[in-house]
């Protein structure tokens, strides 16, 4: 009302300006949806070229066969039949699964108390410092850390010399390097921060008055942990499990360096097929099988997570 009395001349001017703007961008200015597509196009293109295309190539390769130097492009299930019938591949797949599950369990079980400690015992002003300290191992190279474990676990390594020096053992322990145990220890250390962070975030999100309410309703500290803290931290635990499990199953550097002959995993075989045996289709088929295994296990955990997330916002 006031505007129309005092500045009636200004209003049409503004309208004209708006019209010009719309005409300059006839298509993109039309709807929010098209603007959205425009914005996501670059990352979508990136994802298509660098993720979907290689994946499709792997799947396609796995249905081809290698005949010495020539690639037979007739589609066949021969590679899969061989992978599933040859006990060597089966054993490697199974061992990869077992080692990954062991790494995941070890990592998450050690990460939980650390995350719990930071969330519940560290004063709020120091929490970010603690989180920062936990990332310190990541400042050194992944390879460096694997080699360091070799130094620690080796026959004449830090651990064995210390233990023999103290007279606790007479002979150096040999079961700690160049086998599956060493792979589990090394990978559990490497992935610890990845497990600590999601669990910490989930614990931080728990309203502390819920814990007081549980105590008030008659539950002890232990039962409060089991009935309130743990269920509410489950999304973080499941996230940690997935974050650790998915990459470990495909890891090949650690088993190669500290695993010895009995600690090798499926990724080492895939590498061998591609680079040494020049059998890319077989490697591709093994890769697809490994992916299928990861997918199956991940789905189980996602399903669990959904159950736990059911009641929450």
């Amino acid at each position: 009302m006031i505007a129309s009395e005092t500045g009636s001349g200004a209003i049409p001017m503004i309208k004209i300006k708006i019209n010009i703007k719309i005409k300059a961008w006839p298509r993109l200015g039309r709807s929010e949806a098209s603007q959205g597509y425009f914005l996501v196009a670059p990352p979508f293109l990136y994802a298509l070229l660098l993720l979907a295309a290689p994946l499709a190539a792997i799947v396609l390769f796995s249905f081809w066969t290698q005949d010495y130097l020539t690639l037979d492009t007739t589609l066949t299930l021969k590679n899969y039949r061989e992978a599933l019938s040859d006990p060597l591949y089966g054993e490697l797949l199974l061992r990869s699964l077992v080692i990954s599950l062991a790494v995941t369990a070890a990592t998450v079980l050690t990460a939980f108390p650390i995350a719990y400690f930071i969330s519940f015992s560290v004063p709020p002003s120091r929490k970010s410092m603690w989180i920062f300290l936990i990332t310190i191992p990541f400042w050194s190279s992944y390879l460096m850390r694997v080699f360091l474990w070799k130094v620690i676990l080796g026959y004449n390594g830090v651990l064995n010399t210390t233990l023999t020096g103290l007279g606790i053992i007479d002979e150096p322990l040999s079961f700690i390097l160049y086998n599956a145990n060493a792979v589990v220890i090394t990978l559990a250390h490497a992935y610890a921060p990845f497990a600590i962070l999601p669990i910490y975030v989930a614990l931080e999100k728990i309203d502390r008055s819920l814990l007081e309410a549980s105590r008030d309703l008659g539950e002890s500290r232990v039962m409060t942990f089991l009935r309130v803290t743990l269920p509410l931290a489950m999304p973080g635990v499941v996230a940690a499990v997935l974050i650790v499990f998915i990459p470990t199953i495909g890891d090949y550097v650690t088993p190669r360096l500290v695993g010895g002959p009995n600690g090798l995993m499926i990724a080492n075989m895939i590498q061998t097929q591609f680079l040494k045996l020049n059998n890319a289709p077989m490697g591709a088929a093994l890769a697809v099988l490994a992916m299928a295994m990861v997918t199956a296990v991940s789905l189980v955990f996602l399903f669990l997570n959904r159950r736990y997330l059911k009641g929450q916002k």
Partner: protein
């Protein structure tokens, strides 16, 4: 709950309770007795220690000094989970991963009851708070008022000796709050459990409580019934915190125990009774009298009265429909005072600047040191 002498034993006895965090004193020597079955409120501005006191009773805070007895037992080193108290939290603290029924039945795990008995108790508790049939719902799908009811049912199902309520109505809108006030009062009478309510809303405390402890800076300033608190506050601070009170400078002389003479600015000389000095007599101090807005009235032109009359001027007014609040300056007084008048049939609303004849009674004066 009578002891051998037939004297009513308090359900909660606080003896010089202290709580400090380093240098900061949250509670500075609280002594009070809370009676079995009463609706007791802790009222005070934020930071006065009322929530700390409630959390001390619940067992979430250790005492720094003094003694806390619940039902005759010393609560020193008794953790929250074994105390005969239950709490309704300000945030309600509804478990988000459980259903309504699982929330309400949370504390029943340790009870030696069969599954069916527990389910029946939960259904009864839900019925009591007006949430019949809500058991299977997810807790996060509830409105604020419904969460409140779930929190109440969850605490009451354990039949505590004392129910502690930490500002339970502050998150609700005005209508819902008023509804819950009457409902809480009804529920308290129905179950007969002692309720202790923490609130900063003086109106809420007056409406709901049998007795109120008004707290300032970690101490109880006055512990009384709502009527007594409103009519006879024992300090100016209490009088100001509860409702509106006008203060006028005054001097007082005591002739004898029952006969106290007051000379109040703008009102003149008056004789008051000993109960009108609830804070006690402190000779030689500067004093003031307090008077509530609704105990005075402005006479319309030509109206006569047998009450005392003081003369002043209407400085301002706020018209509320049912009421008019006048700001009146009495002749010879610097500070204006508030007078509230019901807008009855035939009573005109006075204009600014007109002369006001203010009728008052010596009975409604309170003398403060």
């Amino acid at each position: 709950m009578k002891d051998t002498l037939g004297v009513e034993r308090p359900i909660i006895a606080l003896e010089n309770v202290e709580k400090y965090y380093g240098e900061y004193y949250a509670l500075r020597g609280i002594s009070a007795e809370i009676r079995q079955g009463e609706f007791f409120s802790l009222l005070g501005p934020s930071g006065c220690g009322k929530t700390t006191l409630l959390r001390t009773i619940a067992g979430f805070e250790e005492l720094s000094g003094g003694r806390l007895m619940i039902d005759g037992k010393d609560m020193k080193r008794v953790p929250a989970n074994v105390r005969p108290t239950n709490m309704v939290f300000q945030s309600y603290a509804i478990f988000p991963h459980l259903t309504v029924a699982e929330n309400v039945g949370f504390g029943l795990r340790r009870e030696p009851l069969s599954r069916d008995e527990k389910a029946r108790k939960v259904a009864e508790a839900l019925e009591m708070v007006g949430l019949r049939g809500y058991g299977a719902r997810a807790a996060h799908a509830l409105s604020g008022g419904q969460r409140q009811r779930v929190a109440l049912a969850r605490a009451l199902i354990l039949e505590p000796k004392v129910l502690l309520l930490d500002e339970p109505l502050s998150a609700l809108d005005k209508k819902m709050r008023e509804q819950m006030q009457t409902e809480l009062r009804r529920l308290q009478r129905q179950v007969g459990i002692t309720f202790i309510l923490v609130t900063h809303d003086q109106e809420e405390a007056l409406i709901m409580s049998d007795r109120i402890a008004v707290m300032f800076e970690g101490q109880i300033a006055q512990l009384d019934t709502p009527q007594q608190l409103y009519r006879r506050p024992n300090t100016r601070q209490v009088g100001e915190f509860i409702g509106v009170m006008n203060f006028l400078p005054a001097t007082a002389t005591v002739s004898d125990e029952t006969h106290i003479e007051v000379e109040a600015a703008g009102l003149g000389r008056a004789v008051i009774a000993p109960d009108q000095l609830p804070g006690g007599w402190h000779p030689g101090q500067t004093q003031s009298v307090g008077i509530r807005p609704e105990t005075m009235s402005i006479l319309f032109p030509g109206e006569t009265t047998d009450r005392r009359v003081a003369i002043g001027t209407v400085e301002d007014l706020s018209y509320y429909g049912d009421m008019t609040y006048y700001v009146v300056r009495l002749d010879g007084v610097d500070r204006p005072m508030t007078i509230s008048m019901k807008n009855l049939v035939g009573r005109p609303v006075l204009d600014r600047g007109t002369e006001a004849r203010v009728a008052w009674d010596a009975r409604s004066l309170v003398l403060f040191a």
